[in-house]
Amino acid sequence: MRRLILIFVPYLWLLALFLVPFLIVLKISLSDTALAIPPYTPTLDLGAGWQGVKDFLSQLDLENFQFLTTDDLYWKAYLSSLQIAVIATLLTLLVGYPIAYGMANAPDHWRPTLMLLVILPFWTSFLIRVYSWMGILSGEGYLNQFLMWTGLISEPLTILNTPVAVYIGIVYTYLPFMILPIYAALERMDASLLEAAEDLGCSRLQAFWLITIPLSKNGIIAGCFLVFIPTIGEFVIPSLLGGSQTLMIGKVLWEEFFNNRDWPVASAVAVILLLILIIPIILFQRNEQKQREAEG
């Protein structure tokens, strides 16, 4: 009995927080838009009994999904999101790995402080932090002022409202998700392994490549997924920093929902996005499981 309760709790969690909302979104994606509150039909009328349920089901269709294929905006947005997410993930890895490596090799008494510094940005609102990047990157922002003061440039650079600004924003926002799993993998590594590699004839660089990188592989994979998955659906960063040039599916979704008030199409976009994301999520889970097996 106790075991059943224990198993039931996570399933209840999954049911309430994932499955039910998903079914609602799926249902809306199969509905038609309407000038009403909520802005779609049909709505389930349980007062009409079984006949009501049947009427309700008969009015659902795949129209909205068909609509997504007619306008190339959508698939372009999906592809562009994927591309931005891949590039941004690699950039985050390039920035995050050395930081994690430095943290793992820092003296013991420094590590809690460094860890705190990595987590610290989470203590302020994400939105405020992205807004502050607008202040830094804009034409007369701090970055341009600084670069002109040093004499490196004479004309202000256009960074804001370009893909570059989006990458900067994503790398900045998701860096902790990359650093923490890599740091965890590196910190667990036995330092004598590197000494053993050196003892057996490796140079420092060879030892890093042959021992450190393979042993932090799981951390790298975990970090990449943790950045990649939320980045695909990201909409705040592209809409605040990317201007009109940057096409990302999260932004499209937002506009469908709030500007067009076309909830059914927006829901269809969300359902497709979820289906796209299921593949990396499954891969991520499998990696985690493999890692647990290797340790156990």
């Binding site: 036995d190 004598s192 392994l193 000494e195 053993a196 590699a197 050196e198 003892d199 057996l200 004839g201 490796c202 140079s203 060879q206 021992i211 393979p214 042993l215 592989k217 290797a294």
Partner: protein
């Protein structure tokens, strides 16, 4: 047996493989190694023994190249190794944690060092196969380190460090992670492999039994200094200081003032007459003919020799082939530590140690008379002390009460408290079953030992 004893350290013509020359290593204010000079010879199995923090690991890490001496030189095969980085040294190390690469198979772990040397594929394959055979790991070549047992991991680590055929192999507490039984087997395996490969081994350990089992020489370290470096026998039987005596095995220490004995004095009996005479036959054995005879052939043997062997081996020589008989008063083994009385006479000379007012002085005829008047410690191994319920006739006799008995199966250690509170440990072989043991708790017992049983130490 015509095997020469392996003792290169006693041969002035032998060139040492490793020379430490006034090596000092400091970490900030802390001196880990304090001005040490010593040699290690080729094919030696050299043990660095000491408690944690004594500098033994630092010593090893300097040999491996992970630390550099603050002062002094380390010479390996005639070359100063200070400027050579660890990956270029002909030295390999077996790490305490084994440091096996968890993402590589056993085969790849062993091949790791060979691949760095740029050997051909075939040569690597042959060498790895050879190592797998040496360590009996053929069946596990494709397993990952987490799929094999601790003992197998230990052997992989050994195979990996031996694969490059180093001039010197360093072993950092190699058996620390194994359980007692496996450790014993592995110790002998290690000795076999050392002999087969002819590699010089330097082992770091805090386990004195392990060091004594495997090593040709043991260096006992304390506070960054080697206190004594010698064969296990010498370290045990003739420690140079209280520290060494105490660190190696069990020991009783009795401190007192030394007084030189008259070198010509008559054997000094005990002032009080013995309450019981030792059994006759013991007396015979001790004072009987000291001459050890050569084995003589019987009639059949003589016939065999004359008819057959003479033509092959030549005429039989009657000259003594053995060492001269040992001086019975000095070297005779101490009657298996059973409760058997000792010969009465003590050899002349040496020291008397006045350790307790009112008690007769202890006689150490092997003590240096020059220590006259100094405070000395007589260190006595428990197995060299006899325990009996009746007063034996021996040069040194102590009377006390059994307060504790540690039953170890093959032997028992008796803790005897002397009237002044000093506790003495004496060991006896359990030739009888426990239920028939005649000495038990609270018994009044006599402890006796020979005049040469102890070692007189100053430090």
């Amino acid at each position: 047996m015509n095997q020469t004893i392996f003792e290169p350290w006693n041969d002035p013509n032998e060139k040492p493989l490793i020379q430490f020359k006034n090596v000092t290593k400091r970490f900030g204010d802390f001196t880990a190694i304090d001005d040490q000079t010593f040699d290690i010879f080729e094919r030696e199995f050299f043990a660095l023994l000491g408690p944690s923090g004594c500098g033994k690991t630092t010593m090893m890490r300097m040999l491996a190249g992970f630390e550099t001496p603050t002062q002094g030189q380390i010479i390996l095969a005639g070359q100063d190794i200070a400027p050579i980085p660890p990956n270029k040294r002909a030295v390999n190390m077996m790490f305490q944690s084994y440091a096996l690469f968890p993402h590589l198979s056993v085969w790849d772990n062993i091949a790791f060092g060979l691949k760095r040397d740029g050997m051909t594929r075939d040569a690597i394959g042959d060498r790895v196969a050879e190592m797998l055979k040496l360590t009996r790991l053929e069946k596990f070549a494709q397993r990952k380190p987490h799929q094999i047992s601790g003992g197998q991991r230990q052997r992989v680590a050994l195979a990996r460090s031996l694969a490059k055929a180093p001039k010197l192999l360093l072993l950092d507490e190699p058996l620390g992670a194994l359980d007692a039984k496996l450790r014993q087997d592995t110790q002998f395996e290690l000795m076999d492999i050392q002999e087969t490969t002819g590699t010089t081994f330097v082992i770091v350990t805090h386990d004195q039994e392990e060091a004594m089992t495997v090593a040709s020489r043991v260096a006992v370290m304390d506070h960054g200094k080697i206190i004594q470096a010698d064969t296990p026998q010498t370290i045990y039987e003739a420690p140079v200081s209280r520290y060494v005596a105490d660190f190696i095995g069990d020991v009783n220490m009795i401190t007192g003032t030394a007084k030189a004995r008259n070198p010509g004095s008559e054997p000094q009996g005990d002032p009080t007459p013995p309450s019981m005479q030792p059994p006759e036959k013991r007396d015979d054995a001790a004072s009987g003919t000291p001459q050890r005879l050569d084995p003589q052939p019987n009639d059949a043997g003589r016939w065999l020799h004359d008819k057959v062997l003479k033509f092959v081996l030549g005429p039989r020589s009657d000259a003594p082939k053995r060492l001269p008989p040992p001086d019975p008063t000095r070297d005779a083994p101490l009657a298996s530590a059973q409760a058997t009385p000792q010969p009465v006479e003590a050899a002349p000379g040496g020291l008397e140690i006045h350790w307790h007012e009112g008690a007769p002085p202890l006689i150490a005829s092997n003590g240096d008379p020059a220590l006259d008047g100094q405070t000395v410690t007589l260190s006595l191994r428990p197995e060299k002390m006899s325990i009996s319920k009746t007063r034996p006739d021996a040069p040194n006799v102590l009377h006390g009460k059994v307060v504790d008995i540690a039953y170890l199966g093959n032997i028992s250690t008796y803790h005897v408290e002397l009237p002044d509170g000093l506790k003495i440990k004496a060991q006896a072989t359990n030739t009888r079953r426990v239920s028939q043991r005649d000495i038990t708790w609270e018994d009044d017992v006599w402890i006796s030992f020979r005049d040469t049983a102890g070692v007189v130490l100053v430090e």
